[in-house]
Amino acid sequence: METRLRILLLSAVLAALPGCATVRSWFHHRPPSSTESQNDDQAQDENAPPRVIEPEVARRKITVPKIRSRNVEMGLYYGELSIEDFGSHPVYGVTAAYHITEDFFFEAELGRSKAGRTSFETLGGNIQLLTEDERRFTYYDLSLGYNFLPGEAFLGRGVAMTSAFYLLGGIGGTDFAGDTKFTVNFGAGYRVVPSDWLALHITVQDRVFQSSLLGTAKLTNNLEARIGATVFF
């Protein structure tokens, strides 16, 4: 009995001793370390040669390449322009657009056509209302465009192209019959984008300006329908 008790107590003491050794660290909140080894380290530090290689941890430097912006769209168009009282004639021109947001873009247009003869001239025999130079119909305009109805156009099973309808409205000038008139334009178009750089357009536009060529001052509507191809830059 006595030996059993002694063994039990001894084993309890043995178990408790290592625990007691950590008591210091309970209150100082640091891992136990021998002061002797610290002293040794210090001695070694004094004797050791200076460190030759300093570890350098440099942060990786990333150079961000400039991301290309392709917001500019330039192109050509060809169509038919109906000049009020002067018949319908082919029209051709250039456009330049800048896409500001996914919804809005600015567009500048420069177009040219040639007016025919009015019915008055045709019926009146030799009467010439305008000279050949004055029959040249040149216009420019600055418009704001609004993209709506975005969608996709499908060609067969394999090809899908993004598309959008857009509305156009703006101001400009029309040089016709020896005078430049302030012109308001509005219209709508359909744009298909087969690739990142190319776009195809079908546009209908009305150009309204005041004219007093045939006696009384009146607002003339000059409707234009055209197809165009533009390139994104």
Binding site: V64, I67, I100, G151, D179, T180
Partner: protein
């Protein structure tokens, strides 16, 4: 090793095969070295290509078929995958995945991506901060020039938030004359951070006057001008702002008397 010391023909054959294998291993090592070189060069080639590589940190990145919220999502890039940024159109970025799928990611989603060093991808957003500080401005105006109707366009380059070099062209259409104006000058913006920010302008220009043929003096003329003016900008939304402007033009004629013309205009402009 025994083979290399042997003198039998067969050994010779062996030796030749050993040579062959030696050559082949050397060739293989060469090819490996070449491959290693290629892989070393690959980043250089990548940088020459100039595409920015970004990493997806959000659960997924949606790719649309076109640059607009109305175009459908057709692909998602999972977290931790990388993408190459090909180019930008308005607020959308055309990107390519590791598998070669190309699509459009929105500005809002692109803001959540990180660069290779873990920092967030930052770029120019078309917002109010951009209105305060930007590089270029463009816009169109309608207004009056000396009593005639004016159609005008302008562009500007900013040196800082307050000082900009501006150029504008205009076409005026009046009862007595038509004409074209062009001028270049400086603009100073007060309180560029304010939604309503006033500015002053000063500069030089030219005006080409075409009197109407019905008048006696029918000769076209081009005169030098100088102007001083002021106006106000009003931030609308995104990249847009309104701009109202007045310019007092002094036209230096070749006659005894100089002329002046008042220009009032209101326009719609954007910055980028």
């Amino acid at each position: 090793m025994a083979r290399s010391t042997s003198t039998t023909p067969s050994t010779q054959r062996y030796r030749s095969t050993e040579l062959l294998t030696a050559w082949s291993t050397r060739a293989r090592h060469g090819a490996l070295a070449g491959l290693a070189l290629l892989t070393l060069l690959a980043p250089a080639v990548g940088s020459a290509r100039g595409y920015l590589q970004l990493f997806v940190t959000q659960p997924y990145l949606e790719l649309h078929t076109g640059p607009g919220r109305g175009y459908p999502v057709f692909h998602v890039v999972p977290r931790d995958a990388s993408i190459d940024v090909l180019f930008r159109r308005t607020d959308w970025f055309k990107v390519r995945t590791e598998q070669g799928v190309e699509g459009w990611a929105s500005q809002g989603d692109m803001q959540k991506l990180v660069l290779a060093d873990g920092t967030r991808f930052k770029f120019d957003l078309g917002d109010r901060a951009g209105f305060t500080s930007h590089r270029y401005e463009m816009g169109i105006f309608a207004g009056q020039y000396g009593g005639a109707t004016l159609i005008s366009a302008f562009g500007s380059v900013s040196f800082n938030t307050q000082l900009a070099l501006e150029g504008s062209v205009g076409n005026y259409l009046g009862k007595f004359s038509n004409g074209v104006t062009g001028d270049v000058g400086f603009a100073h913006v007060f309180a560029p951070e304010a939604r309503w920010s006033p500015f002053l302008t000063i500069g030089l220009g030219l005006v080409h006057i075409e009197p109407k043929a019905t008048l006696v003096q029918a000769a076209d003329r081009t005169e030098q001008t100088a102007y001083v003016g002021g106006g106000v900008r009003y931030y609308l939304t995104r990249r847009f702002f309104l701009r109202a402007e007045y310019k007092a033009h002094y036209i230096f004629t070749k006659r005894n008397e100089n002329e002046d013309a008042d220009e009032w205009k209101l326009g719609f402009a954007f910055f980028f």
